[in-house]
């Protein structure tokens, strides 16, 4: 179990891994994640399930610290180690009408299954993907295929249009193309910026949060987030929450707890569009 069947670099420091685990693949629904612990001394880190197929699972890892670097170096035939899942609530996707999916950096990975499901439910779908620069671009072809309309933005203009993901979203809202629903996954600053707009225009927003986790079974509270003034455990109450009510500043602060201990926590915290 958990043997790697395929690996590939998708962008700079971004690795795609397919591995075997029929028991998790069999129970997976879009929006859920898993926890990996690699080796006896390894830490437990959460990663989104991007796709499952034939008892195999696709994950996408960005190398940001010690653990993610180790995972990115693994080769076909090797084992990922301990894999636990599928975790968290799955997305509750219905037909809303017109939807916008906003992906920032590695957030494109968790967003892909959600976008696919939105489309499947008959929504009209705009996908806005933002990256730091072309080197970090992932899944754009796949997202473009899913979406009715695909908009690509980059911080440095090296690909797509230059600017933040909120630019086209704002334009849509201002031009009267107010979507019925927005999904956003990416760095907390990006999700926060999206929420400013959705709140302003009264559009419902769902975000997927990725705070530091340990057990991911609701046992430790490491993953505490604040939604509508209430403390929630992202691993069991989430990972998706009402994006118009999340306390993003707290989330960003809590992601920094172990910043000094090398970037061991496996979470990306920087970047505007991206990560």
């Amino acid at each position: 179990m958990n043997t790697i069947t395929e690996t590939r670099w998708l962008g700079q420091d971004i690795r795609e891994i397919w591995f075997e685990n029929s028991r998790i693949a069999g129970s997976f629904k879009p929006g859920q994640f898993l926890v990996i612990r690699h080796g006896e001394t390894g830490e437990r880190i959460p990663l989104t399930i991007v796709e499952v197929s034939d008892g195999r699972i696709r994950i996408i890892i960005q190398q940001v610290g010690y653990t993610t670097s180790r995972l990115c170096r693994l080769k076909k035939g090797e084992s990922l180690g301990n894999v636990i899942g599928p975790l968290g609530h799955h997305s509750d996707i219905v037909k809303y009408g017109s939807c916008v999916c906003v992906a920032g950096g590695i957030g494109a990975a968790p967003l892909k299954p959600i976008a696919a499901e939105l489309r499947k439910q008959g929504n009209r779908l705009t996908v806005i993907e933002g990256v730091r620069s072309s080197k970090y671009l992932i899944l754009d072809k796949e997202l473009e295929k899913i979406a009715d309309r695909f908009i690509l933005m980059s911080d440095d203009g090296s690909v797509g249009e230059k600017g933040l993901v909120t630019l086209p979203l704002k334009k849509m809202m201002e031009e009267g193309n107010r979507p019925d629903y927005v999904y956003a996954v990416g760095p907390p600053v990006m999700m926060k910026a999206v929420s400013v707009l959705t709140r302003q225009y009264g559009v419902p927003l769902t975000v997927s949060l990725n705070p530091i986790m340990v057990d991911a079974t609701g046992m430790c509270g490491s993953c505490r987030v604040e939604v509508a003034g209430e403390t929630k455990f992202a691993c069991v109450d989430g990972p998706e929450f009402d994006g118009n009510k999340v306390n993003y500043d707290l989330l960003m602060n809590r992601l920094k707890v172990y910043a000094d201990d090398e970037k061991h926590a496996g979470c990306d915290i920087g970047g505007d569009n991206a990560g």
């Binding site: 340990v214 079974t217 509270g221 707290l250 061991h264």
Partner: protein
């Protein structure tokens, strides 16, 4: 005047004085042990054990047994030790308790068996817990283990969910009864609280591993990284298994619900201990999981969990570790030995003190704990005097790490995923106390998921009872 040894045996002429004090157990000295995570008490030597065993009066109507939730035949196993027949002693023990190495270390003997010991009226009671530990550790050193006798295979399959003391006991009993047993565990290591919560210096993980290895050798199949309710549901398990025993523990940590609780530097006891014990953060960076090594650590709560956290903090390099507890010393729910060890190691006890808020610095880290002083008022429903705040007594303590160890409630994962299992107000699974039966056919439960945070031995007692009724259900088919 020393008590005389009266065996309560009418024919016995023998009258001997009894040593008033328990045979002391060697321990690592406090100044040394706070620098390592090694076990604190060293255990009895054979001579010490025999000497202590000889203090037992061998009462005809042993009250100690009444105090034991699993009814170990205490005088009998102690008699074997006194006679130097350790093999018979461990056999006698294992008739009732499969995990003596663990219970000997963590049971609250002073509230159970030892409090009932006749000697304790005038002297120290017999050190039953230490003898229990001795005999288990003795066996571990022998080549030949007392393998459990197995009944003929029944062809029935049982799924046991959660590999804490409850699950381990149920699995051990059920396999002996001839059933096929699979033990499902959410974490990557079996043991439940014994591996993620209780620290190495109190319960070495090798002791737990030993017990798990024994179960696996007896034929129990272990499925780790398997979260029932997520990886599969109980209903799916019931398609393959004839019965299910749920012992998923009280994994949901409580917070104080006061302002500032989500500041950086504020931990639940579960997170603090899980990082340190299960993930071995105390060995960071050799192990990859980090932990905040606070200099000034405040632990809120007064139970075993709180003591474990404060003592862990010292070992992680804290200059000061405080226990902040709202009642007085008398009400501390921790085992006496834990309080004693904590005091010896220099843990500061801020009693009759209740936190009311956390104060953060500009970077979102906790820097102070605001508390209010308490006084004891009228007795409450628990019979203990209720602590009441003294108005205007607020003050602030400097701290850089706070660990909240005020309790936990049952793990909600399975109840949420299995609506036809009835739960009570606090999310605990409701069972018939005599049989462990839940409202769902074929499903039994026990331990902390039923009781809320309780004890190792009560979880084991529940599991034992449930195993018996599971056996009956599987043999008769009657629900």
């Amino acid at each position: 005047m020393p008590t005389t040894r009266n065996t309560q045996d009418a024919t016995s002429e023998e009258i001997m004085p009894v040593e008033p004090k328990k045979t002391p157990m060697r321990e690592q000295p406090p100044a040394e042990r706070t620098k390592n995570f090694d076990e604190v008490p060293c255990g009895y030597s054979e001579e010490e054990a025999v000497k202590e065993a000889k203090r037992c009066l061998q009462c005809k109507k042993p009250l100690c047994v009444e105090g034991c939730p699993v009814e170990i035949d205490i005088p009998a196993f102690i008699k074997h030790i006194a006679e130097g027949d350790f093999r018979s002693a461990i056999r006698k023990m294992k008739e009732k308790n499969l995990l003596p190495a663990i219970c000997g270390r963590v049971c609250p003997q002073e509230d159970q068996c030892e409090i009932k010991c006749v000697l304790s009226k005038k002297h120290d009671p017999v050190a039953i817990g230490r003898l229990e530990r001795f005999i288990a550790d003795w066996e571990a050193r022998q080549e030949e283990k007392s393998a459990a006798e197995k009944a003929a295979p029944t062809g029935k399959k049982v799924a046991v969910i959660g590999a804490g003391p409850g699950g381990l006991t149920a699995a051990g009993d059920l396999i002996k009864m001839g059933h096929k047993v699979t033990l499902f565990e959410a974490l990557h290591k079996p043991g439940g609280v014994l591996v993620y919560g209780i620290p190495e210096f109190r319960l070495p993980k090798s002791v737990v591993e030993r017990e798990v290895d024994f179960l696996v050798a007896s034929g129990v199949k272990l499925e780790l990284d398997y979260i029932v309710g997520k990886t599969s549901t109980i209903d799916q398990l019931l398609e393959e298994y004839d019965a299910v025993f749920i012992s998923t523990g009280a994994g949901l940590p409580w917070f104080l619900n006061i302002p500032g609780e989500n500041l950086n530097g504020v931990y639940s006891a579960n997170e603090y201990l899980t990082r340190s014990n299960l993930m071995k953060a105390y060995l960071f960076p050799q192990y990859d999981t980090p932990i905040i090594r606070g200099k000034n650590v405040a632990v809120v709560g007064g139970g075993n969990v709180a003591m474990d956290c404060a003592r862990t903090a010292l070992r992680l390099g804290a200059e000061e570790a405080h226990i902040v507890y709202r009642r007085s010393k008398k009400e501390l729910p921790a085992r006496i030995e834990e309080v004693h060890h904590a005091e010896e190691e220099g843990v500061v006890f801020d009693l009759l003190t209740l936190p009311v808020g956390y104060i953060g610095d500009d970077n979102g880290w906790v820097k102070e704990l605001e508390c209010i002083k308490m006084e004891l008022g009228e007795p409450d429903s628990s019979g203990r005097r209720r602590p009441v705040p003294i108005e205007g007594s607020n003050f602030r303590m400097k701290t850089d790490t706070v660990v909240c160890a005020i309790g936990q409630s049952p793990n909600p994962l399975i109840p949420q995923a299995t609506p036809d299992i009835n739960t009570g107000k606090s999310g605990n699974i409701e069972v018939d106390p005599a049989t462990g039966k839940t409202s769902k056919k074929g499903c039994f439960a026990g331990g902390d998921i039923v009781r809320g945070g309780a004890t190792v031995i009560l979880a084991m007692g529940d599991a034992r009872k449930a195993a018996r009724s599971i056996d009956e259900y599987l043999r008769t088919g009657k629900w």
